[in-house]
Amino acid sequence: MNSRKLTIALAGNPNSGKTTIFNNLTGAHQKVGNWSGVTVEKKEGVISRHGYELTIIDLPGTYSLTPFSIEEIVARNFVLDAHPDVVIDIIDASNLERSLYLATQLREIDCKVLFALNMADMAKSRGVKIHADKLSELLEVPVVFTVGNKNEGMDALLKKAIELAEAPRQISQSRKVRYSPDIETAVADLQEFIHQALPDTLPYNERWTAVKLIEDDKIVRERILSLSGERRQEIETRIRLSRQYIMDRFDDDPEIIMTDERYGFIAGIVKEAVTTSAQQRVDISRNIDLVLTNRFIGFPIFVIFIWGMFQLTFSLGKYPQEWITVCVHAISTALELHLPDSLFKDLLLNGVIAGVGSVIVFLPNILILFFCISLFEDTGYMARTAFLMDKIMHAIGLHGKSFIPMLMGFGCNVPAIMATRTLESEKDRILTVLITPFMSCSAKLPIYIVLTGTFFAARAGTVIFIIYLTGVVLSIITGRLLRTTLLRGLDAPFVMELPPYRIPMAKSVVIHMWERSKMFLKKMGNVILIGSVIIWALSAFPRDITYSRNYGAEIQNLRRQEAIQTPGDAAARKSLKKETAAAIDTIKGQMQAEQVEKSYMGQLGKLLAPVFAPIGIDWRGSVALMSGFVAKEIVVSTLGILYGARGNDKTEALRTALSSSDMTPLSAVSMLVFVLLYLPCLATIATIRRELHSWKWTAFSIGYSTSLAWVVAFVVYHSGKFLGF
């Protein structure tokens, strides 16, 4: 059956219950992507109802359609350019006046609008009764009652939407927003003028275009002027005159006057369509806030919540992480046993499985973390964290909401950067993404432990603490620096709604979690796979290395000697066997070290040695740092290989090897600083690229962090030398 296709867009304020309604309507049939070119999430779902194929688009939640934020531009452009058959405006009944502001703007654009009056039951319990028929009549827009979190009214909503889509286009001008006579005169004049100047070519509704031009809407203005050809000058003058006409009469900018009048118009509607009963019930949300944003206990509670989130993410996450590690290990052991030795086996084991395995272990953390974050968001607590932290974050030039992602950076940068999506302003988002990697992630800790343990023994804890602190300080400096240069501009104004607390819905939390993990697995999988294979190839090739010693013969020799000696005494035999095994292991380690040294990776390391020499890091260190590009944990194991550290306790062996090498405590500090700051791991870079949608910023992040790392390490190393360390 070839059913008719309709496009329905959902518009509404943030926290209006729009996402819940979208989830109810589309269920599991949703596709999450991005609006082209921007980091705003685009959700759509296709469902079949009443013989129609309905494509439902969840527009970003906005308070208005004035193109200030990316969300508003995206939402408005979709309504204007994609011409959805119907726009459903979700109106939060307990927040009617402000919801109607967006509604009047939608009403002004020439599109078919339907109101979903959501959560009217809640408004009623607060003593607010909304007369839907009156509202519908006053704005000439059909109204359907819905209760999103109880899944009520969804079918009626779709039926009405289809009915409206099929109805002949008939939008009366009479019930649109009416401005005061002076403004109406200016609008009508300009409308008449553009009608004559640009007949046929006008992309939007005439009245709306005139209103937007008077409001000095940059996007509409550019669009109209680009169409106007040689009449450009004349049109520009006309717009200026119309604006001047209003400014002369009201002594303020036209856009301000018109916003004022829209609210006046809304106040009129509310007066007629709403009855408020005197008895006000207790506002639960307000009471919760008496505790959660309390002057004295607000912060301690916040710290407990964050601590809990960390505990859940990294402590509870440890168990499934171990299971995954065991599985990956089992797979690689099985392959190790059953595949014949070959290049392919090496690629599969040390490239693909090792690489992907090192990333997939983060999946449990990401699931749990996003569970917590969706809980924070869906309950409304996220806005409170921003409210509490804004003063501190504002000092770095950031919004209070940047706090959570930055904090998560101490765990793992990948989910941390994914969490920057909660930020509304693009500049804030870029800045937060750029400084989050300076929050030293947990994968760097093993490196710190090995180096400080070797060189600072008793004071290791203090040194590690200073390293973490250095990261935080440099992120603050970077934040301030970028705010005044590349990302200049006001950090987003803190005009933020503190939505009422709500009980989160399991469905929405699960959908949220699932979307994130799917994205993580899919996108990270690709990049990580390719990256790991490249790193593997660099360290596995060339195959025809001429070794300085004949390792094979040496091992053979040891085995032969063991066979010849064979003492009669069982204990002696056992100890001899152990000795031989240890000797063979050492030779194998030396062979592996030489193999890596002579591989492309080792060659590259030696090539880069002059770059690292000024900061006191030798070629071994530079190879290890390069391998850390795949995942920071690998730095330690690469160091282990290069220093030929073998045996059961590799860390101990590495420590012994390091302390007898020519590495000094000072060069260790230099390396620590470099590890703290230099380019993030592959998974993080892939995430940065994904979240910022820009290779330019990704490259900047890599370049900036690495050069900063070098400069700071250089300063540390040389001032240390100067001071005689």
């Binding site: 301000i256 002057r295 509490l388 005009v495």
Partner: protein, 74 residues
Amino acid sequence: MLLSDIREGQNARIVRVGGNGALRRRIFEMGIIHGAEVHVEKYAPLKDPLELIVKGYHLSLRVEEAAQITVEPV
């Protein structure tokens, strides 16, 4: 009198919203318009930002933003 001078728990009526274009417009669009009555619910623990109740919902503003809004106490 400025909105930032109003103490916790007091009400005020908006007289004038100052400031630059975009921010000013945003504040207007959130319902802080001439003549609107606002209730200063509380200041954050670090004294910035502050929480208002306007048109029946809760909104937070930084003190520096509130300092651009002229009000009269009611």
